[in-house]
Symmetry: C2
């Protein structure tokens, strides 16, 4: 067999420097002493030959990839920028690589998850594509994972990083009711099984209940936490004559709030006079929307950073370590009816 590879290998370096490959490997990984003399020679030879270790070979031999994966449902939301930013910063500092992949519940049938133990050392799981059973299997095999914006299935104890949703949503919706006298509050929810969406819906309902407002199924729309879908859905709702009255919209996230605002605009509803709008996340543009968006500030970059740090802790010391819930805070702006 005549396999040809143009790339220079560790053997070339070893030969050129007159040492064994083991010594070169040790020098590269600094995991055993190498004489000063040899070290210098190797440095020289390596730059001269432009030697770069072959990642796959290292991975195979060492059974590490130096890659961590981030599994998302999709990339249709500005929300992911701060999240990615937090993740990437930590990954870079650790001199690891980051694989970003999308995978959601519906793609399960077609394909297995694109990233996992076979090509990463650990996973940051945002996606709902990995169902509880998958998580259980991976966890049982000792594969390091940290859940993001999602909590561990019962009796599995996978570490997670989330933000506080229910309490804050309750308070914000209650604000709409008590301060601004809104009683017909539409909820533009996210993906059906996404925890943030579920929790925000819970907070929404509990605020209604606490204030004697009956829950109306008709006032819940599926915006998928996506700008375009939220627009579409609300637009249809407003167009399709049914004319269910509402005087406020709680949009599960800021990005979808843009779609909501667009639909309201196009149907000549004034915000907040006719319809108040509130969001969630406090994305960078929220203060500059028209009107400025009342929302909940979620520390998204911190979520990414902390989740990644915990994943690295797990890599070094495979001891599970609970759930962290980061605090959130309401930011009042004009879209709810508050004065500028």
């Amino acid at each position: 067999m005549t396999r040809r590879s143009s790339s220079v290998t560790i053997r070339d370096v070893a030969r050129q420097a007159g040492v064994s490959v083991a010594t070169v490997s040790r020098f590269i990984n600094r995991n055993a002493p190498v004489s000063a003399e040899v070290a210098e020679r190797l440095n020289q030879v390596m730059t001269e030959l432009r030697y770069v270790p072959h990642a796959a070979a290292r991975n195979l031999a060492s059974r590490k990839t130096r890659v961590i994966g981030l599994l998302l449902n999709n990339l249709h939301n500005d929300f992911f920028v701060p999240l990615l930013n937090g993740v990437e910063a930590v990954v870079r500092k650790k001199e690891y690589n980051l694989i970003v992949a999308t995978y959601h519940a519906n793609s399960r049938n077609a394909m297995p998850p694109p990233i996992g133990p076979h090509n990463t050392d650990g996973l940051l799981v945002f996606s709902d594509g990995l169902v509880d059973e998958d998580l259980a299997n991976l966890n049982a095999s000792g594969f390091p994972m940290v859940l993001v914006h999602r909590t561990s299935p019962k009796n599995l104890e996978i570490p997670s990083v989330t933000v506080e949703n229910i309490e804050i949503t309750h308070r914000l919706v209650e604000h709409l009711i008590r301060i601004h006298g809104k009683h017909r509050i539409l909820f533009m929810r996210g993906p059906l099984h996404q925890e943030d969406s579920v929790r925000r819906e819970a907070g929404y309902k509990s605020a209604l209940a606490a204030n004697g407002i009956p829950f109306d199924e008709e006032l819940v729309l599926n915006g998928e936490f996506e700008r375009d879908i939220a627009f579409q859905v609300l637009n249809d709702f407003l167009s399709n004559g049914k004319h269910v009255a509402f005087d406020a919209v709680f949009t599960g996230d800021d990005d979808a709030a843009i779609g909501v605002m667009k639909a309201l605009h196009e149907h000549k509803h004034r915000i907040p006079e006719d319809v108040a709008v509130i969001g969630f996340d406090d994305l960078g543009f929220a203060p500059f929307l028209n009107p400025p968006l009342t929302t909940v500030r979620a520390p998204t970059e911190s979520v990414g950073r902390i989740a990644t740090e915990r994943l690295f802790e797990l890599l070094e010391n495979p001891a599970s370590n609970g759930a962290v819930v980061l605090p959130t805070e309401i930011i009042f702006r004009r879209s709810c009816g508050c004065p500028a």
Copy 2:
């Protein structure tokens, strides 16, 4: 040596199915016929054993990684969401993986690029961290690359995907001058050597020149195409008493425009009456800023998609194929002074 690996290998599958590893490999890769009988048996055994091929081993043996890399300067801009989205969609369809890494000119001293021929099959280069010399070396070695928002160094012919900047900027700035009578237009530029920024500056200058307005060095600020930096810089500019008068701001990108608007707001300048603002990119939130942002629509998701498609073409057929420049279009909204 006693190496232990808990994972099931191709040999386990082969033994269990009573065939050779070669047959299993062929079945997995579907690159040679396998009898129906064996195929079924393998399917069964593989799911039973939960066999997943080990990526590193495949990579090593096949000398392919099935990974493409996206190299960015940073992730501090909502602009990257549509870009990433376009890239990721194509990568997923091809059943490849995507490594996202940041690397910029200043990190060169500290580290080599985190991704390259050693861990990817090809690169989408947005970053300025890879200087012309690096590109030349990589290109000479036949490594597939596509430049994004950046054109090929002279006589290198690396494929690139960019958007039209100069002409459109010229027209937009001229609009500010001729229609809205602005004559002191501040330019909030991006990173010094970023081509979009350079070209937008060229369009800005040519519009000034074409309309008899002298270029004033003092009216150029470095906002780095980052929201927070743009805010900081303009805020300082407005605070530091120097009181250089201006009646408009051309912000090199929409994300930075948010920072600009914030600074203007805080200093009680009305937009567009006192100061007009125009951006670039037409990010999703642009129509909903207060006031709605006049900007240039750039097909960012298409840039990501097309660049990635071209990279895959390159993988299959290493023939260089020029530069594509996608058209852009001005979107007039209120921030420039146009009526709603």
